[in-house]
């Protein structure tokens, strides 16, 4: 025992707390409200110690406790039908949900936000976002196999956007590339609403055999608790510095970074090390350390297991020996894991650690007392029921109401607006409009970003950006694989949160089906403004209601996710941005459908019908208009379209498929042509007659439930028969023309692919070098 080092602090023991009920504690500085502090005192029957206060304050924070959203999030569980449950092996509540893939395989995936750190320090914020979500996946017993990153930044031409963009992209690349995880897709949106509050979300997916599934619980009295990986430092301690009153030593580093600093090499070693532990069945329960660090890991492990744990905090290996107990409990140092190990496995566990040169410290053991006891050199500084820390935090029914301005916004439609003046109609105008659209910040090629990510590592990437979904092989023998897509449309959701959230789900679902995969599960990252603003709270409530209703219709459950609130600049919230990830299954990834056509003479079909739906569209965005109603949601139609795309892929009826979403048919035709540099001749007269729209609307409307597919001539009859049998609208709109090097649309000036490519790919390099 190192009396010298530990006696530096005036340790606030439980005994001391009981004796000194009137000691002033900095609960407000730690972000707690008066009623919350009172509740802690009530739960404990005395004032908390400094260390206990640190634990409660981080675990009861919005980020960890979901106190504002919990009452609404319940719907994801309540609306789950038996059909939706059939492939769910682990549901919401664990580090990540687990879905059955068949053949003994399981897949786990989750999406999370790392928004505010990525604004403060874009590189480390984004990097540790990847690191954190990957550790969630490892904690389930899975080998991580891919990542994705939906990004939303401020206006493309704002000087600060380049700072955030360069940093975040380099951080995601720098961390993800070093882990050996292919980056298979994501999103990129520029909008001034994200100027002071960019959204950096990160998704990771992992696979495992059923028997390898691990849960975060500490069971078995006498089992050992171990902390391993990186040492604990002073990084990521937000409000903990106010606990410095614990210390009478003024030699501490004065300023600590509130943003964590990542070490991808340590994480890569940690991945391999954990997989070796799982393979040897050497851990009983495991939990990654992310937000709230040791506070979270000990309280969650204990409350999910037999309910008790005893931990000696001076055993924690430190990077900075001056850290106080409270700071150690709150530190968010990266690349750490906590595990529960049976005494007979301790030696084998240590051998794995030594092989990978990973540091570890035995902190204590599992008990059956129902108490989480943390000591500092033998003196009790925490004595709590772990459930009260991890699960029984405050829950708020925040007031919400439909904003007064909502009606006005919805009444302001694009058609006929000032911004709609001079709508293109002549062939030259339409060609110019298509080119302007595909060069615009949100519709341009993202290859400037995706070229900075390794999409090949692992050797199992079957499709990646710019195809509709990322596809990764899981089983090399059978070709079994998964497809993933993430989508959100903040503009739609601003216009109508209920339907906007459903549109995000519909698009991700459609993207996955377009790749040929059967959609199976959903993970969502709900990025919203302040829940204390009734307008924002209404957006959140509506979005969750919409999403949970839509999941029910589509028959796929939410298996996990994250809520990120207080995303705003001053009092101006971001557009409500529910980012929805859908995971699908492909029995054989060789059957996946890419987004571009290649073979000369193939027929191009448009599936679905087009209405005049320009409100909230990318075209309206280009003209500076945001108002009206988002496109109509028809989930039954989405399901029917999905079945057609999946069957056509499985039975070899189509060679390419691309969903229609932002930018409508115009964007889809250009993207499918540029994918392999193969042109097409398109005639839309039948569509105009059938759907009663003009050529501009046919090209730029963002009606949902649509896709374009390339059908080999030999399959045309079979394919159209299938569409007819299912009563789904389909029309032959053109033919692949490999020799022309052009995209030709009747009524639109001919567009050489070279010029389209230059416009499409030139935008990001122009702004970001």
């Amino acid at each position: 025992m190192s009396i010298e080092t530990t006696k530096k602090f005036n340790i606030d023991t439980v005994e001391n707390a009981a004796k000194t009920p009137d000691t002033e504690l900095p609960w407000a500085e730690l972000g707690l409200k008066q009623n919350e502090f009172d509740e802690i005192v009530k739960v404990l029957g005395r004032r908390p110690t400094g260390a206990e206060l640190a634990m409660y304050s981080v675990m009861w924070s919005e980020h960890c406790s979901y106190k504002s959203s919990k009452n609404h999030l319940r719907q994801f569980g309540e609306k789950v039908t038996p059909e939706m449950k059939k492939d769910m092996l682990v549901g919401i509540g664990e580090n990540a949900g687990v879905t059955n893939l068949g053949d003994g395989w399981a897949v786990t995936f989750k999406i999370e936000s790392h928004n505010s750190p990525s604004f403060v320090e874009p590189y480390q914020g984004a990097a540790t976002g990847i690191g954190g979500i990957v550790r969630d996946i490892i904690s389930m017993g899975a080998r991580p196999v891919a990542v994705m990153d939906p990004l939303r930044f401020g206006a493309i031409d704002h000087p600060d956007t380049a700072r955030v963009m360069h940093g975040a992209v380099a951080g995601i690349g720098g961390y993800g590339n070093s882990l050996g995880l292919p980056n298979i897709g994501g999103e990129m949106v520029f909008d001034s609403v994200y100027q002071g509050n960019p959204l950096v979300n990160a998704l990771a997916v992992g696979v495992m055999r059923h028997e390898d599934i691990r849960l975060a619980n500490a069971s078995g009295k006498g089992n050992k608790v171990v902390l391993f990986g990186a040492r604990t430092g002073g990084d990521g301690i937000g409000g903990a510095s106010v606990l410095a009153s614990e210390s009478f030593d003024d030699t501490k580093p004065s300023k600590r970074p509130a943003v964590q600093v990542g070490d991808p090499f340590a994480e890569k070693v940690l991945i391999e090390c954990c997989l070796e532990l799982f393979k040897g069945s050497l851990v009983e329960g495991i939990q990654d350390l992310g937000a709230a660090g040791i506070s979270c890991a000990t309280s969650e492990l204990a409350s999910n297991g037999d309910g008790g744990m005893q931990v000696e905090l001076t055993s924690v290996l430190l990077r900075d020996p001056t850290l106080t107990p409270g700071e150690i409990l709150m530190s968010e140092s990266q690349e750490r894991m906590m595990a529960v190990v049976k005494p007979e496995n301790v030696e084998a566990f240590e051998a794995v650690m030594d092989k990978w040169a990973v540091e570890y410290a035995w902190l204590g053991e599992v008990t059956d007392t129902g108490r989480l006891i943390i000591t500092w050199d033998g003196e009790v500084i925490v004595d709590v029921d772990p459930r009260t820390v991890a699960h029984d935090g405050p829950v708020y029914d925040r007031p919400y109401a439909r904003p007064e301005w909502q009606d006005g916004v919805q009444a302001d439609t694009f058609t006929g607006s000032v911004q709609d003046a001079g709508r293109p109609s002549a062939p030259a105008e339409l060609a110019a409009a298509v080119t302007e659209l595909v060069a615009s910040p949100n519709m341009c090629s993202k290859s400037w970003i995706t070229d900075q990510y390794d999409r090949y590592v692992g050797g199992n990437t079957s499709m990646a950006f710019p195809d509709d979904a990322g596809v990764v092989r899981v089983d090399e023998e059978t070709g079994l694989g998964v497809a993933l897509a993430t989508d959100a449309n903040g503009r739609y959701t601003y216009l109508d949160p209920y339907h906007g959230a459903q549109l995000a789900l519909a698009e991700a679902y459609r993207n996955v089906a377009t790749s040929g995969a059967v959609p199976m599960a959903v993970s969502d990252c709900l990025n919203f403004g302040s829940p204390e603003d009734p307008d924002v709270m209404w957006q959140l409530a509506e979005a969750i209601r919409g999403l949970s209703d839509a999941c029910q219709v589509l028959g796929i459950p939410v298996t996990g996710g994250n809520v990120s609130l207080y995303n705003q600049t001053g009092t101006t919230p971001i557009h409500p941005s529910p980012v929805v990830a859908v995971l699908g299954k492909l029995d054989d990834v060789a059957r996946r459908t890419p987004s571009g056509w290649r073979e000369d003479g193939q027929a191009i079909y448009l599936l679905g019908t087009t209405a005049a739906e320009l409100d909230g569209s990318e075209w309206a965005n280009l003209r500076g208009h945001l108002g009206g109603q988002p496109p109509k949601v028809d989930l039954e139609a989405e399901r029917a379209l999905g079945e057609i795309l999946i069957n056509a892929s499985r039975d070899g009826m189509i060679d390419s498929a691309h969903d229609l979403s932002e930018g409508g048919l115009a964007a889809a035709l250009v993207e499918s042509s540029l994918r392999y540099g193969v042109g097409a001749r398109i005639a839309l007269q039948d569509i105009l007659d059938r759907d009663g729209v003009d050529l501009f609307t046919a090209l730029f409307s963002e009606s949902q439930g649509r896709a374009i597919v390339g059908v080999p001539r030999s399959e045309e009859v079979r394919f159209t028969d299938m569409c007819k049998a299912r009563g789904f609208a389909h029309a032959r709109i053109g033919v692949v023309d490999a020799a022309s090097g052009k995209l030709e649309i009747n009524g639109v000036d001919s567009m050489p692919l070279d010029a389209l490519r230059e416009a499409h790919e030139g935008t990001l390099p122009k702004y970001f070098g």
């Binding site: 090499f265 070796e276 070229d451 090949y456 050797g459 079957s462 090399e476 023998e477 290649r598």
Partner: protein, 257 residues
Amino acid sequence: MTELPLLGEAIAVAAEPRLAGARIGVVTFPGTLDDRDAARAVRLAGGTAVELWHADTELGDVDAVVIPGGFSYGDYLRAGAIARFAPLMSRIIDAANSDAKLPVLGICNGFQILTESHLLPGSMIKNDHLKFLCRDQVLRVENNATAWTLDYQAGQEITIPLKNQDGQYIADEKTLDALEAEGRVVFRYVGFNPNGSRRDIAGISNEAGNVVGLMPHPEHATEPGFGPESLDGIGGSDTDGLGFFTSVLTKIVGGDK
């Protein structure tokens, strides 16, 4: 030994059975990333992949060695600078320089480790554009007489993925002139120099031709459906990298294919 193949143990291979007798070691350092991929490429070419661990003090029974890509020890110092001191590297250096001339292929970080080990001359610095770059890259095979390029035609153009941050090959002019004169520039970038490498050099060999290093990744172009797919247009091959592995296997088992 080190590999934990939750993914990808079994690829059925129908290559020539006699090649399966050839054993190719694939080295794993802490931070190595493409080791499973290199092992898979060896299997797809018909050989037997043998996992090697950086801390091993013996090379064991292998006929050739691949040092795969990744970020060994995080590459926080200089790419490959720490890995070069691994116990197994001493064995590999000895074997490569011995009369038996063990064939050694260094890919990406493996190439960097080979230059740090002085098995190959020159060095790699940060890409001239300072960014990580992942792209499908066209290379010209300048020398098809090395252990790893026998199955290519001289002057053949191949497309394989490139993905790195520190890929700019540099050496002094005298070294570069010597490499050119001795035919030791094995691969050159075609059409686009992705990192500012001197004289468009993508890969080089030692004098004997048994040690080859390159920045692009042949192991990622060995299986249909998982290699370069953005080939502009139609009819391109996504398995152009397989020749590296068939070359060395053929050389090991001897004789014509």
